[in-house]
Amino acid sequence: MAEVTWDHVTKQFDDVTAVQDLTLTAADGEFLILVGPSGCGKTTALRMVAGLEQVTSGTIRIGDRVVNHVTPRDRDIAMVFQNYALYPHMSVYKNLAFGLKERKTPKVEIERRVREVGETLGLTDLMKRRPAQLSGGQRQRVAMGRALVREPVAFLMDEPLSNLDAKLRVQMRAELKRLHQSLGVTTVYVTHDQVEAMTLGDRIVVMANGKVQQIGRPQDVYRAPANLFVAGFIGSPPMNLVRASVTDGQIQAGTMRIPAPAGATGEVALGFRPEDLELVEEGSSFQLAVEVVEPLGHQVVVHGTTEGTLVDSGAQEEEIPIPLDGARTPVTAVFPPDREPVPGASLRVTVPPERAHIFDLRTGEAIRP
C-alpha cells in the first residue's frame, strides 16, 4: 500500500496539453476520483501512473519511489480498463492467474489466491469459461479480479463501470465501495459520471482542459463549488446559473433580490441548485413558468423558464439548444413529491440567500462571504 503522487506533472501530446502542472496526492488507502468531461486529461493522468504514458515534465511517485522511468510491470500497480481488456484466448482462471504467473509466483500460491478472489467476486463457477462466454457484469468482475489477485500497492481504474447497464452499475458501485473498505488499498478512479464520483470517492478531483478545477470531499465540492465549471458539472440536474447584478450590497436577478457577499460587484453569475428552490407566497422571488414536469417518485423535477440570461458554465458536454426568446433563461427545480405542478403553471419561487452561489463572471471563481 502506498501513496500516489503527481508532482507538477505535465503531459504534452504534440501541440495538445493533456495534463497541465498537476500536483496531487492520493493518500495511502484513499479512494480518489478523477472526474471531468471527456478530454479533460483524467485518463492521461491515470495512464501516467500506470506507466503507459511518459510524463513530459514533473515526477510521479508511488510510495517514496519516483517511477518516471520504471516500466509498468515494476510499478506494482494494477489497472482495470474500461473495456476490461480480458485476454480473449484464456479461460477466466488463466486471466486471473496471468499476472501472478508472469511474476513467477509459486503455483500453489497462484491457485490459492485465484480461488480466494474467485470466491470474493462470485467467479468460482466461471473459472473454465472464456471471456466471450461471460455476460457484461461477469466480465467486469473478472477484470476486477485480475487486479485484486495481484495484491498491488494501488489500483488504477479507468471508467470500469461505464460499459454496464444502469442497474448493474449501481450494484457494482456498491460492491466496489465494499471491496475498497475491506481492502483499504489506495485507489485512483477515473470517471466522467459525477454520480459515481460523488458516491465512491473519499475525495474527488474535478478536472477540465488538463487542469484541476477543485479538490475536495464530495459533499464539500457539491456544497461549495470553487468555480463556474465545477458548479455546472457536479450535481444532477445541474445547478441553475443566471446573470445577476450587484447594487448597494444586493444581488438583483430578475425580480429577486438577495444580500450580496462582500467582494461581489458589478455583473456576477448567480447559481442555485434545483433542490434549493423554495415555493413562496410573497417576498423576494421570481416567477417560474413550468414547461415540463418529470415525476420521479421520490421527487418531482420541473423544467421551466424565467426572466434573465443564462450563464454558460462550460461543463455541459453537449449543448442542447433550447428555443428561448432572448430575455428568458431555463431553470430546473426539484420539489418534494407532494408538489406536482402542471405544465403551463406559473410558480413563485425563491432562493434562500445562504444557498445561493455567487461567481465572478470574468474569472469564473466563486465569491464567498
Binding site: G51, L52, R73, M79, A85, H89, F98, E102
Partner: protein
C-alpha cells in the same frame, strides 16, 4: 444455395480444371499416346508404372525432401521474423520507424529480376551457392509478411497489451502470450502464402543450385525437358506428385487463405 452466380462460376471452374485433369490423364498414358493427334482423352490402359519410373530414374525423393526442408524452414522463419518485425513496426515507438517501414514496403515494388544478381553475389559471399542454405536464408523474412502482420497487429485492441504489460509481461511476453495467440488467422494466411510461394519457386533455385542432389522439385521437373526429347508422360507423373502437397495444403487451409486475403485486419 444455387444462385445465378453458379451459372457463371461453373463454366469458369471447368475451364480451370481442364489443365489439371489433362495433367493427370497424360501422366497415365504411354509416350506414344501423348503424341497422338487428336489427343486421346482417356488412357487405353493406365500406366501407373510412369510413377514408379520417375521414382526409379530420378532422385525424385531427394528433391521432394529438399523442397520440404526449404519450404518448412521458410514458413517457420517467416512466422517468427515477420511477426517480430511486424510487431515492432506496429507497437514499439522508435526513431525512424515510419521511414524504415516505408523502405521495407518499397522493396515490394522492386521486381525480383532486378535484385537477383546482387542477391546471388551476397549468397556467394556467404558460401552458400549450391546448398539449400541459398534457398532458405534469403527467404526467412519478407516484406509482405511484415506488412501483413503489422496491419493485423494494429487491429488488435491495445488495451490487451497494456493490461499484459501491467500484469508483468515483457515485450516479448506480450508478443508470444497475447498477440500471437490472437493472430491465428493472419499467421495461418502467411504460412499458406509462404508455403505456396516457396514450394513453387523456380527462378531463384535455378540460379543458385546446379547439383542434382540439391535441386528442388521445380528444378527437377525442368530436367525432364531435354533439348531433343521430352518424356511428357513422365514429366506429368512427376508434376502430379509435385502438385499434390500443394493441393492438400490448399484444401486444408483455404478457409484461412481466403479469409486472410479478404479481411487482413479481422479481430481475433
Amino acid at each position: 444455395m444455387f444462385s445465378g452466380w453458379h451459372l457463371v462460376l461453373l463454366p469458369i471452374a471447368l475451364v480451370m480444371l481442364v489443365p489439371l485433369v489433362w495433367m493427370v490423364v497424360t501422366s497415365l498414358q504411354t509416350l506414344n499416346e501423348t503424341r497422338h493427334y487428336p489427343p486421346t482423352l482417356l488412357p487405353s490402359s493406365p500406366q501407373f508404372k510412369n510413377y514408379t519410373d520417375v521414382l526409379r530414374d530420378t532422385p525424385f525423393d531427394r528433391w521432394f525432401i529438399n523442397t520440404l526442408v526449404v519450404t518448412l524452414a521458410s514458413v517457420v522463419g517467416n512466422l517468427i521474423f515477420c511477426s517480430m518485425a511486424g510487431y515492432a513496426f506496429a507497437r514499439i515507438k522508435f526513431f525512424g520507424r515510419g521511414f524504415v517501414f516505408l523502405l521495407i514496403l518499397a522493396t515490394l515494388m522492386i521486381p525480383f529480376q532486378v535484385t537477383i544478381i546482387p542477391s546471388f553475389l551476397i549468397v556467394r559471399k556467404l558460401g552458400m551457392i549450391d546448398t539449400l542454405g541459398a534457398l532458405i536464408v534469403p527467404n526467412l523474412v519478407g516484406a509482405f509478411g511484415i506488412f501483413m502482420l503489422r496491419q493485423f497487429f494494429l487491429s488488435l485492441p491495445i488495451e490487451l497489451e497494456e493490461a499484459a504489460r501491467i500484469d508483468g509481461a515483457s515485450r516479448l511476453g506480450v508478443l508470444t502470450k497475447i498477440v500471437l495467440p490472437l493472430s491465428g488467422p493472419a499467421l495461418a494466411t502467411l504460412a499458406v502464402i509462404t508455403f505456396l510461394w516457396t514450394w513453387n519457386d523456380f527462378l531463384w533455385p535455378l540460379v543458385t543450385i546446379y547439383s542434382p542432389q540439391n535441386m528442388t522439385l521445380q528444378l527437377g521437373l525442368a530436367t525432364f525437358q531435354g533439348a531433343h526429347q521430352t518424356s511428357t508422360n513422365l514429366l506429368m507423373a512427376a508434376n502430379v506428385m509435385t502438385v499434390m502437397p500443394v493441393l492438400i495444403i490448399f484444401f486444408l487451409a483455404q478457409r484461412y487463405f481466403i479469409r486472410g486475403i479478404a479481411t487482413t485486419g479481422l479481430k481475433g
